[in-house]
């Protein structure tokens, strides 16, 4: 990687944005790119580092109550597999898993969010009863010029990974996100779901729901 160039570019990003914003980091590890469903040689994937000290984040402590924040949720029916001929199962409403032995384990869903709302949390519910594999959900922005052709860039905004097995494997996990705002004029938003790292393990890795929590009311 050309470090001076990246430094220059990151400097451009920071200087052209609010000074408190974090720098974006290029995702260049081929294995990591492949695990996320990108070509291993992709040069247009960037990550927004977490900043858990951001004072603007709302208090997530009263998790049991219904907050006033807006949200956009996706269940199994909202996801499409990476190839339309790949097998999947969403028979139980909301659930999604790839059948045991299948090799296609990546799916994605579009996220429909209003302009200028701040992203707060990425939530994921699911079941991870696999001793060897995890599932993950990643929120991406894919951005292009607003009114013309251009090469897309992909920005990782938030990531959630299932934890080690607890009880029967049901889990809830969330990611707090550094300050970023949605801009659907220039970017499309997607959640990429990865059900494990090898051949599919069936309902031992099951998605229940992914939710994007944002500012304002909806």
């Amino acid at each position: 990687m050309n470090f001076p160039l990246i430094t220059f570019a990151v400097g451009m990003l920071v200087s052209s944005h609010a000074s408190a914003d974090p720098a974006w980091i290029q995702v260049s590890n081929p294995a990591e790119l492949a695990a996320m469903g990108f070509p291993a040689t992709a040069v247009n994937v960037w990550r927004l580092p977490n900043d858990s000290t951001d004072p603007g984040l709302p208090d997530r402590a009263p998790l049991g109550s219904t907050p006033t924040n807006a949200s956009y949720a996706m269940t199994g029916e909202d996801f499409v597999t990476i190839s339309s001929l790949s097998d999947y199962n969403s028979a139980a409403y909301g659930h999604l898993y790839c059948p045991t032995g299948a090799t296609s384990r990546i799916a994605s869903a579009s996220v429909n969010v209003p302009t200028d709302r701040r992203l707060f949390f990425l939530d994921m519910w699911g079941r991870d009863a696999s001793a060897t594999q995890d599932m993950s959900a990643t929120l991406y922005a894919t951005c292009q010029p607003a009114d013309g052709a251009g090469t897309p860039n992909n920005f990782v905004l938030a990531e959630v990974t299932s934890p080690a097995i607890v009880g029967d494997g049901d889990f809830f996990e969330f990611d707090t996100v550094s300050e970023t705002y949605f801009d659907p004029q220039r970017c499309g938003y997607s959640v990429n779901l990865v059900l494990g790292s090898g051949t599919c393990v069936g309902s031992d890795l099951t998605l229940y729901k992914v939710r994007v929590v944002i500012g304002g009311n909806l």
Binding site: T66, P67, A70, A73, S86, Y93, K209
Partner: protein, 180 residues
């Protein structure tokens, strides 16, 4: 309904008897009602074995026994769902199309599986041709809790026989009428 796990807990809403026939009009009959529609093509098979075809907006279940397809709705918080209308073509002498409205809810912070509740259901009749099937919830509308719940409609395109009948049954669209 298309659940494949006999051990799964499924709730059924105790829906009051439908109100007397309401005035319904494309402009909302002055009630400020709005609509959200999912075309047949937007319905996704319950599993990858769902075989379908057709010209948008309509789909037919073309072959096999996997006959369930589902679409989610994205309604504003606090909206009151009053009607769900399924527009279809049913010219089959052996099969009907069933329609189910469900909510799938999970509390924030809890790791338990989602709770599925059947809010209403109905079926096409034996009368051949284009048809509309209405789920009338107007006497006790479902209030949308979008932070906790997801709302979806599932169709069964071949009941009771269970084998798809191709172009004898088409799903055109499902429309929700709600008060924001």
């Amino acid at each position: 309904m298309g659940f494949d796990d006999p051990a799964q807990l499924v709730m059924v809403r105790d829906l009051p008897f439908p109100a007397d026939s309401d005035t319904r009009a494309p402009d909302g009959a002055g009630l400020g009602d709005e609509w959200q529609t999912r075309i047949g093509t937007a319905f996704q098979g319950r599993t990858g074995a769902f075989n379908f075809g057709g010209q948008a907006p309509s789909i037919a279940c073309t072959s096999g026994t996997e006959r369930f397809a589902t679409a989610t709705f994205d309604l504003p918080a606090g909206a009151a769902i009053k009607y769900v209308d399924m527009f279809a073509y049913d010219n089959s002498s052996s099969e009907e199309m069933l329609v189910f409205l469900l909510s799938v809810c999970q509390g924030t912070g809890g790791a338990d599986p989602p709770v599925s509740t059947i809010l209403a259901n109905s079926t096409t009749s034996g009368t051949p041709g284009d048809t509309v099937v209405t789920l009338n919830l107007s006497s006790a509308p479902v209030i949308v809790d979008r932070y906790t719940c997801r709302y979806m409609v599932r169709v069964n395109m071949a009941s009771p026989g269970g084998t798809c009948v191709g172009g004898s049954i088409f799903l055109d669209k499902v429309r929700m009428q709600y008060t924001p």
